[in-house]
Symmetry: C2
Subunit: 464 residues, 2 copies
């Protein structure tokens, strides 16, 4: 055995001299000053938090959340931390789990496009649960969010794409490190202890891509949040791990990935911010349809006409759009998410494409069916994947056209605060009501100034 192992390690060119990134990230996590970044980064942190909170509230009574919570209730958890959009409290670790599951249930949260990591889920779910129980301030939470996401995404940059290509859902298999780093900071751990927390978390990645399309996909950020929070508490009490858990030959990076670009961690740490690259989905479907939806919404607003005045909507797109979302007659909401035809029709009629526009009854509504039949694709290999042309003919024979270079929600055309708020309201209002939703949005966007989390928790939960 030992001989075979030795040979194998030579074959894989084990790097014994990798930089001490575990130590580096640990020191960074607990020593970087509060708000040690620009105002625009701090604003992005607030937008990230608010978007996460809305995404966690929206599905809070979805069966995915109900089933997970029913299992957790078998442990009779202590009422330490709140579940967003609900009345219950559970212990910190399981609040992190459940809120993390909820926030990814509609697959509608945020995306760090360089790695396809959904960065908020594992970090925000953990720090809110910990912060509520320990009565921390809003500033501490925002700081921990920026730091935690920096740790997850830098490790992601180091191993992406090989790690993802191999089959790992990178959100959950790097997220436990972000959660551990953020919680270590909130617990006031030393760099030594934080190094241990990262090590303890490194042994517990979460996430196979095979789970996409099942409830276990949103389990990944939730379980990663729980792992990281628990790891930080273990480190606080003296539990040990390898000091080189990330960089050693049999540590996380080399075991999880054949790509090991250490400079993604070592260069400019504390000087550039991955959270500044975060994006938010405006539409609750696969990203390839977003330009087409965007174009339809633009024409709707520009023309101000009714759907029955439309004769035809032609969308010129890259072939991938047809390949991935070419379902002409979707039968239900899930199929609707893979139909550019439904998406364009419903977007023109409602001006939106949120989770509600993919409800089974909406997909089968007569006005939507009528317009859907008028949508056609023009497949054009010359068209850039992220772009499209939408050409609309009205019943009076006129033609109107819009070109979308980048869809709203991309890095090039980030969602405005107003658009983000509309998304938040759309998810939150059916759960929390309009008044509380307004207060929840404002509190999230002002979190860094909140002396404690009372107002935030009050706004994001239901009373018994």
């Amino acid at each position: 055995m030992s001989k075979a192992t030795a040979t194998k390690n030579i074959a894989r060119k084990a790097q014994t001299d990798a930089p001490a990134v575990t130590r580096m990230l640990a020191e960074f996590a607990v020593t970087h000053p509060s708000k040690g970044w620009s105002d625009s980064v701090d604003l992005e942190a607030h937008r990230t938090f608010a978007n996460w909170a809305g995404c966690a509230v929206g599905p809070s009574n979805h069966e995915t959340v109900e089933f997970a919570l029913a299992a957790i209730k078998e442990f009779s958890p202590a009422p330490q931390s709140s579940l967003l959009g609900r009345t219950e409290k559970v212990d910190m670790a399981n609040a992190a789990l459940i809120n993390g599951i909820s926030s990814h249930t509609f697959d509608f949260d945020d995306t760090h496009l360089k790695t396809i990591i959904h960065p908020a889920g594992p970090v925000a779910s953990a720090i809110l649960a910990l912060g509520e129980h320990r009565s921390l301030s809003g500033r501490e939470l925002i700081d921990a969010l920026v730091i935690g996401i920096e740790v997850s995404c830098r490790v992601g940059n180091t191993i992406y794409p090989d790690h993802y290509d191999r089959g790992w859902h990178i959100t959950g298999s790097t997220g436990m490190l972000g959660s551990a780093a953020a919680c270590s900071r909130l617990l006031g751990l030393t760099a030594d202890q934080t190094q241990m927390a990262l090590g303890i978390a490194a042994s517990q990645p979460v996430g196979l891509r095979e789970q996409f399309g099942t409830m276990t996909k949103p389990l990944h950020p939730g379980a990663a949040a729980k792992v990281g929070l628990t790891a930080a508490l273990m480190a606080k009490h003296g539990y040990t791990a390898s000091l080189r858990a990330l960089e050693a030959p049999r540590g996380l990076v080399q075991v999880y990935s054949d790509k090991t670009d250490w400079t993604q961690i070592t260069e400019n740490l504390g000087g550039s911010w991955e959270i500044a690259l975060n994006t938010y989905k405006p539409f609750a479907c696969g990203i390839v349809i977003h330009p087409s939806i965007d174009g339809c919404v633009q024409l709707r607003e520009k023309l101000g006409i009714d759907a029955n005045q439309v004769a035809k909507i032609s969308v010129r797109v890259h072939p991938l759009v047809q390949e991935l979302t070419g379902k002409k007659t979707p039968k239900d909401g899930l199929e609707g998410k893979f139909s550019v035809y439904h998406s364009c029709a419903v977007a023109f009629i409602t001006g939106k494409a949120t989770e509600h526009e993919y409800a089974d009854e909406v997909v089968n509504r007569s006005d939507v069916l009528a317009l859907r039949a008028k949508v056609e694709l023009i497949v054009d290999p010359q068209m850039y994947e992220a772009s499209c042309d939408v050409i609309l003919e009205t019943t009076d024979g006129k033609t109107h056209q819009v070109h979308v270079e980048h869809a709203v929600g991309s890095l090039e055309r980030p969602m405005s605060n107003e658009q983000l708020k509309a998304k938040f309201v759309d998810q939150s209002a059916p759960i929390l009501g309009a008044v509380q939703t307004q207060s929840a949005w404002e509190t999230c966007m002002d979190l860094g100034n909140q002396p404690n989390l009372d107002a935030l928790i009050h706004a994001l939960t239901l009373k018994k």
Copy 2:
């Protein structure tokens, strides 16, 4: 992204036609009849359980356990299930965690030699916690132990050695499946639900080999136990996962390993038993020293002489013994475990090499130091790794020799029940006292006949 991924999958020759092993294992786990195996397999299950219990009791007040428990207490866990060797109860999931950590803390538990999996930890820790809370019978526990270990080890056989060589601590990265299967059976889940439980667990492997030598090594079986138990409860409440979580191209086996020998699962499932191949460490140190210790103990018993009558002990060994355990002057207990010199000396003096014989004070005791100075190695590349010659010269000039072909504790020379009991007593008596230890041993070895777990829990825990 999608194109790069597709290319990569072709390069890795993704197997889309792998057999439906997730379904197969799920059906097996819940439909195989109670005690549907020979008496000798059933006896081995009892020996496995008893050995695990002793190993969990021994370190129950070690700082590894104390630190982990201190962290878990921050969640104010409900008192559902007992911690072995202690007075406290915590919730089921965390009882599985803590007992699993304890059982591997001295690295003294069991070994499935084909895969180097320590099979009992993840499974026994989970089923005892669940069984206590749900008032199950001893027979149900033994059945679940056999089934759970079968699942872990068959998946291990499928991916070993590549998975291990890559850097995974295979005990924790297959153990969550055994725990999930065993707990599914105990919960009376259907095969459909069990398939989901295996899927939920498949996304949550635990264990990097880089953690060896730290407290995170024993975390691996503990966390795997907790993951599997939680996964089974989630599946019970309707939570979903991929139906092909193990065999799909982006499922566990193909993501975790380049070796994918599916026949290790499909052939003779339910007809042969991996638990029959389980072995138990008689000595609390690396396995390469075991033949040398065994030889010294044999000569001690044969000659009946005092250590000061020994002039020299020469041990003829394979070069690996010197390479891995050639520390001539170990300074403390941990170094002692990597010293064939200390091990031979203390074994001749005490007749044992348990955790006590690797205490710091024993390693530095004058009589041990005196005999250690008389131990010498004869490195012989012709010697088989698992064998040795021990040649002892007495002060009267006579020479005595013993050849050890296989050390006690190997598959070829399994520990007798008496030897297993001595190991159990050695670990348990300092914690539980002699009387309770006797009762604990008897209850473990009679577990299949126990109508409930009351006597077992009573014998294995301390009263407040």
